[in-house]
């Protein structure tokens, strides 16, 4: 779920852009360091970004009408680590705005924050935590992908709530409203996402 072009007030759009920028710079610097050691990682990162974009544009079989979802980001965070996912996620979101009219340029900062920063970090953190707790691979992957997806959508709801607080109930009520409305599509999506990622990771382990 991306915030569409122009939906956020100017100050909010700017603030989220400023908030995302250091993460992007850090992700790029970290990728650049890796490139100096392994110059061929440039191609790897490019192909991965293309693959993440492809996955983000997929329609999942169980949810009708869902326009896009962050499958690639959860899987990518597990494969490449969250740092690499910031520039990759940035490219994915930019391409979604320019090729599919999902999201937008002025809301790119906000969308990057929720989908390329919060999502991957939560997915990665949950995965490491689940592994520390001794859960098996499948439950750990499921939780990581599922919670990463949910964290993204909670962040987006929060971004919308901050921008458009309810005149009566304030930011909190507004958050409840947005989170409630989008939960209809996002909860089944997150679960399907988790299942799919488990199937994918298990299949990949066989290769």
């Amino acid at each position: 779920m991306h915030i569409m072009e122009g939906f956020l007030p100017f100050k909010h759009a700017l603030a989220w852009t400023v908030a995302s920028a250091p993460f992007l710079a850090w992700g790029l610097a970290s990728a650049g360091r890796r490139l100096r050691a392994h110059p061929d990682h440039r191609m790897l990162l490019g192909v991965s970004a293309a693959f993440a974009f492809l996955l983000s544009a997929l329609k999942l079989p169980s949810v009708t009408g869902s326009c896009s979802h962050p499958t690639g980001v959860g899987l990518g965070a597990l494969l490449f680590g969250p740092a690499a996912m910031v520039p990759v996620g940035f490219v994915v979101l930019l391409f979604q705005a320019l090729l599919l009219a999902h999201g937008g340029l002025t809301t790119l900062g906000a969308n990057v924050f929720s989908m390329a920063i919060v999502g991957p970090f939560v997915a990665y953190g949950v995965f490491r935590l689940a592994c520390l707790l001794g859960l098996g691979r499948s439950p750990a992957v499921f939780l990581a992908a599922c919670l990463g997806d949910l964290a993204t959508y909670v962040t987006t709801s929060l971004q919308l709530a901050l921008a458009f607080p309810d005149p009566v109930g304030g930011v909190l009520l507004s958050f409840e409203k947005f989170a409630g409305i989008f939960a209809l599509t996002q909860l089944p999506l997150a679960i399907t996402e988790g299942l799919l990622t488990v199937l994918v990771v298990n299949a990949m382990a066989q290769f």
Partner: protein, 249 residues
């Protein structure tokens, strides 16, 4: 991908991306500066009209592209127009709040104006050309390389994906929900494993052509008639000036 196809077919493709981007940036600035819903609405309609009538994007396709953003708008506005009736002990119930209509209208019309401005750019300028523009705007090289590769490879992988699902459908891979999920997972994992092989094949191909570590390409030459830039700047400034002067309302 409808946008992509329309952009390559657009008669405005020959105009320098920098001119189009300049105009759209001005239009976006105007949208931010507009103070009234009526002004923003007029701006959105004007931009849509330019896209359809002047840049000759087929209107049916235009409406189809608009579907996703309109869906988002409808859902979000509904959410914003609903609030609670405060009772003595916490909220008493949900109600529609018509008094919220003015600020919501402003948000909606401004989003529409910004969205039509972005669409004007992307419906007349393929992403490949926009990447050339970003190169000239000195975006970090690594990010540019990433985008150039991702743009080319998303087409390759997209084709592989559609061939793969077609082959799976031929073997009844999508007859039911369970099969569909299983087929999809198999294809994703298979393609994910191929990511490394594809990357190393591309690297070998780049090395064979004397790769220097940075993917350098010729920036496309557009008929850089200063006329287009001048017109774009004039039109853009006029939009902003009109808005600042109080709008057409």
């Amino acid at each position: 991908m409808t946008l992509e196809r329309l952009a390559y077919a657009s008669p405005w493709r020959r105009i320098a991306p920098s001119a189009k981007a300049l105009f759209c940036a001005c239009a976006m600035a105007a949208a931010w500066l507009t103070a009234t819903p009526l002004g923003a609405c007029a701006l959105a309609l004007l931009l849509a009209a330019i896209t359809v009538a002047v840049a000759r994007t087929p209107w049916r396709d235009y409406l189809r592209v608009l579907r996703a953003p309109l869906g988002f708008l409808a859902l979000s506005c509904l959410t914003m127009l609903v609030t609670i009736t405060p009772g003595d002990h916490g909220p008493a119930g949900w109600r529609l709040a018509p008094e919220l209509l003015p600020p919501v209208m402003m948000t909606v019309t401004r989003a529409a104006a910004l969205c039509t401005a972005l669409l004007l750019l992307v419906l007349t300028t393929p992403l490949g050309d926009l990447l050339g523009l970003l190169r000239r705007l000195r975006v970090p090289a690594l990010l540019l390389d990433l985008m150039a590769l991702a743009y080319r490879m998303q087409a390759v992988l997209g084709e592989a994906w559609s061939d793969g699902t077609t082959a799976q459908r031929a073997r009844l891979g999508y007859v039911g929900r369970r099969q569909a999920l299983r087929s999809m997972a198999a294809l994703i994992s298979c393609m994910a494993v191929q990511v490394w092989a594809r990357a190393s094949a591309l690297q070998a191909a780049a090395d064979a052509r004397n790769d220097t570590g940075e993917l350098r390409f010729l920036t496309p030459q557009f008929d850089r008639s200063p006329r287009h830039h001048l017109m774009a700047a004039l039109a853009g400034v006029m939009l902003v000036a009109t808005v600042l002067a109080g709008g057409p309302a």
